[in-house]
């Protein structure tokens, strides 16, 4: 029987500054289907569904649900219009009860003359939890008493108890144990049986192929194609996810013969580094004169590796040892031993946003400038490196908050240039940056590699890793899942196959 159209997305578009996150994507979602939405990091899947569910305002385009245009202002508004989402991160609020969380923003159904009938709310919440076989979760308990998985299950109940017409599951399964996943799949089946639609975002191709009826692929914000589950296998899906042309305009063009060349001196040895819940027994060496890449899915733990090397990782076991035997256990030791770090969360962890370019560039170098700081010296120092990085600014007295993303990253790099760091750990160095600045950064990294510096790039962008790195470690679920060496034949496929 032919399924009817339930939800139509017409030229949905969204930009974030220079980044075109979703590019006029049009999609159809049918009644009674689980429709998977897959793509690499940054392909636009979450942005697309966030606009549908009221988390983000729609840039342009329309969603039409059962013949009516919908543009929810927030999640509760989306719920009222029959659209729900279970997000990847924590969607419940600490300090509130389970019942409060379940009905947050929607309490009016329990309000009589301004008074909230808490008992009725608790009763209803418990009934729903019992109906989902989650009776061990008490509606009156503070949500903080429950672990991440149970809190996620509460979110699932919250988002589905009213039988939404469209349910979005956004990369939720990665955080759940098998028990949690089974519960989620049960719910998805139920929604499908009701003749509604589940939009299922997942990186787990096995799950996608198990649960989905149809699969749509996005790449770099563009819609690629929609296929029926029975017409594809895992490899084909992975091929569809990638398959762009390598633009060697700004990446490296050299392919050293690694078999013959000796690797440079070991700059950093990472030995058995573990951070509970994030990375597990990661070991590798970073050499001078090499660009080493670490890639994987967003939550594979690679970002924590960068922090670990810089001494910014807490609850870390294992060792990070430098060539001279120094063990890096804290940030000051790392900086004193010439390690530089650029965080993925640029604005919050790499930059003093409400401060000048001068302070941002000079800060770690101030310890080398004597007890009494000279204004003039600081200004000249900062100016030199800002200019070296071609930072577009009025002067070094300008606040960093006024700069574009690209120029902010230039300030970060200028800082470490100024510190003459020999070991650079760069997490997502070109995230949210336009092509021209990307090219400049890649050129700088290549230059630094030739100067025998040791560079570690942690990146969610496969092309960047393929284009710039001598070696690439692929991480999955907190462990290193493969090591690949730079060669003209190395493809995105090779990386994807290790990532997912």
């Amino acid at each position: 029987m032919e399924q009817k159209l339930l939800l139509h997305a017409e030229k949905i578009d969204k930009r974030f500054g220079p980044t075109h996150a979703v590019n006029e994507v049009s999609l159809d979602f049918l009644e009674g289907e689980v429709h998977a939405l897959i793509g690499e990091n940054g392909s636009g899947k979450s942005t697309f569904t966030n606009m549908l569910t009221g988390i983000l305002p729609i840039g342009s385009g329309t969603f039409t649900l059962m013949g009516h245009d919908v543009a929810p202002k927030n999640q509760v508004d989306a719920n009222h219009q029959g659209i729900a989402i279970v997000v990847q991160e924590t969607g419940t609020l600490g300090g509130l009860s389970v019942a409060d969380n379940m009905f947050l923003g929607d309490e009016d159904q329990f309000i009589r003359r301004g008074i909230k009938d808490t008992a009725a709310m608790n009763r209803k919440a418990q009934e729903l939890l019992d109906a989902y076989d989650l009776g061990y979760i008490k509606a009156t308990s503070i949500i903080d008493n429950y672990d991440f998985e149970d809190r996620k299950l509460v979110e699932i109940v919250k988002s589905t108890w009213f039988d939404p017409a469209v349910l979005v599951i956004d990369e939720t399964t990665t955080a759940l144990s098998q028990k949690g996943r089974d519960k989620l799949f049960e719910v998805m089946d139920h929604v499908r049986e009701l003749g509604h639609c589940v939009i299922f975002i997942s990186h787990d191709m096995g799950e996608v192929l198990k649960m989905a009826d149809r699969i749509s692929i996005l790449r770099d914000g563009d819609f690629v194609t929609t296929v029926n589950r029975e017409d594809v296998d895992e490899d084909q899906l992975k091929t569809l996810m990638v398959g762009r042309q390598m633009d060697d305009h700004y990446y490296r063009t050299d392919y050293p013969d690694y078999a013959r060349e000796q690797p440079g001196e070991t700059a950093v040895s990472v030995r058995g580094v573990t951070v509970p819940g994030m990375i597990d027994d990661v070991s590798f060496d970073l050499h001078r004169g090499e660009i080493l890449g670490i890639g994987g899915l967003s939550e594979c733990g690679m970002h924590e590796v960068g922090k670990a090397i810089f001494g910014a990782s807490y609850d870390r076991t294992g060792e990070v040892v430098l060539a001279d035997g120094t063990k890096v256990k804290d940030i000051n030791t790392a900086i004193d031993h010439s390690i530089a770090y650029a965080s993925k969360d640029r604005d919050n962890e790499s930059l003093l946003i409400n401060d000048t370019i001068e302070d941002n560039i000079a800060l770690p170098s101030m310890r080398d400038m004597g007890r009494v700081l000279s204004d003039k010296k600081l200004r000249e120092f900062s100016d030199k490196y800002a200019v070296l990085m071609s930072t577009k600014m009025v002067s070094v007295n300008q606040y960093v908050s006024a700069l574009s993303g690209g120029n902010k990253q230039k300030v970060v790099l200028a800082r470490w240039l100024g510190k003459q760091s020999d070991i650079l750990v760069l997490d997502s160095p070109t995230r949210g940056i336009d092509i021209k600045v990307k090219a400049a950064i890649y050129a700088l990294l290549e230059q630094m590699r030739k100067e025998n510096k040791a560079i570690l790039i942690i990146s969610e962008e496969i092309m960047e890793l393929l284009g710039m790195c001598d070696r690439i470690f692929v991480m999955k679920d907190g462990k290193i899942n493969g090591e690949l060496t730079r060669s003209p034949e190395l493809s995105e496929q090779d990386l994807i196959s290790k990532m997912v």
Partner: protein, 315 residues
């Protein structure tokens, strides 16, 4: 172990913990001054001052749980006390009760409006406004005088102070448990962005929280002036010194919030502080030792009950 685990899951665990701390503090002082500390009628006197500050602490809770500050409560207290004095002379008991509460509500509305409209940190807004309220209290004292009439001191002693305080605690508990406002102030404090995303009108509830905070301070003023019977206007930011006793109770409420009964925690916390003060007087300890031990006890209780994450940014 199983018993402790089950106890931890009980919603009364936090209150139980605080009562144990109370008993311990009592024991320590009782052992050191058996004849001059801690008899039942003396305990009632400790509770008397504890109740006053606990009412203020309840009001402040609405603000602090959202991560905001209200440093005007001292000046609101002074002005409300003067209003109580003045209106009791013209309107009797009705004036004594209604005037300070209304005064508190209006000043709270001014605080909330200023914060919402000016979009600058609540600490700065409320300190700035407190200077204005201090000046208003000088003008008010010229009309009202500074001494409460004898006939209106009933809220300074049992049973009326207890009745009013219990009503205030019940109101606070009711608001927290049975209204949207109570849910939303917690939600905004937990994650303002997520709360907004759930359709919570953050500005509206912050405004209401400021109104509530100062309204409770108005109620506190009835108890405060009934107990002390005199209030001179305070200028030059001197009223800031009145902020801290209620705030200490609020900290107890926050620390024990996760156990589900912040009001009980505030009341018991203020009782502990009041009892410690009395204990030190009984011991004849100098005020410096009193302050050191009280401060250290406060820090200890908060540290024990707050989850501290390694490497987290703490402000």
């Amino acid at each position: 172990m199983e018993l402790i685990k089950r106890a931890r899951q009980s919603q009364w665990y936090g209150v139980g913990l605080l009562l144990i701390v109370t008993a311990l503090v009592w024991l320590v002082f009782k052992a050191m001054c058996p004849s001059t500390f801690g008899d039942p009628d003396q305990l009632l006197t400790y509770l008397q001052t504890g109740l006053i500050y606990a009412v203020g602490g309840c009001g402040l809770y609405f603000i602090v749980v959202m991560g905001l500050w209200d440093f005007s409560i001292g000046s609101v207290l002074v002005l409300s006390c003067l209003m109580a004095i003045g209106f009791s002379q013209s309107m009797g008991i009705l004036g004594l009760i209604v005037a300070p509460i209304l005064c508190g509500a209006l000043l709270g509305a001014a605080n909330g409006l200023a914060y919402i409209k000016l979009r600058i940190p609540s600490l700065i807004v409320t300190v700035g406004l407190s200077l204005i309220y201090e000046s208003l209290s000088v003008f008010t004292s010229g009309w009202s005088g500074t001494r409460l009439g004898d006939a209106y001191k009933m809220f300074g002693s049992y049973p009326w102070n207890l009745i009013l305080a219990v009503l205030a605690f019940a109101l606070c508990t009711f608001i927290l448990k049975y209204t949207k406002l109570g849910t939303y102030v917690n939600a905004i404090g937990a994650n303002e962005a997520t709360a907004k995303n759930m359709g919570v009108n953050v500005d509206k509830y912050k405004f209401l929280a400021f109104v509530l905070c100062s309204t409770f301070v108005g109620i506190m003023a009835i108890l405060y002036i009934g107990y002390g019977t005199a209030q001179t206007p305070m200028t030059g930011m001197l009223s800031q010194s009145l902020n801290f006793k209620p705030l200490m109770g609020t900290f107890f409420g926050l620390a024990f919030k996760k156990y589900g009964h912040p009001v009980a925690a505030i009341v018991i916390g203020e009782f502990i502080i009041s009892m410690m003060f009395a204990g030190f007087v009984a011991l004849g300890m100098p005020v410096t030792i009193n302050n050191v031990v009280t401060g250290a006890t406060l820090l200890a209780i908060i540290c024990i009950t707050t989850k501290r994450v390694k490497g987290a940014v703490v402000k």
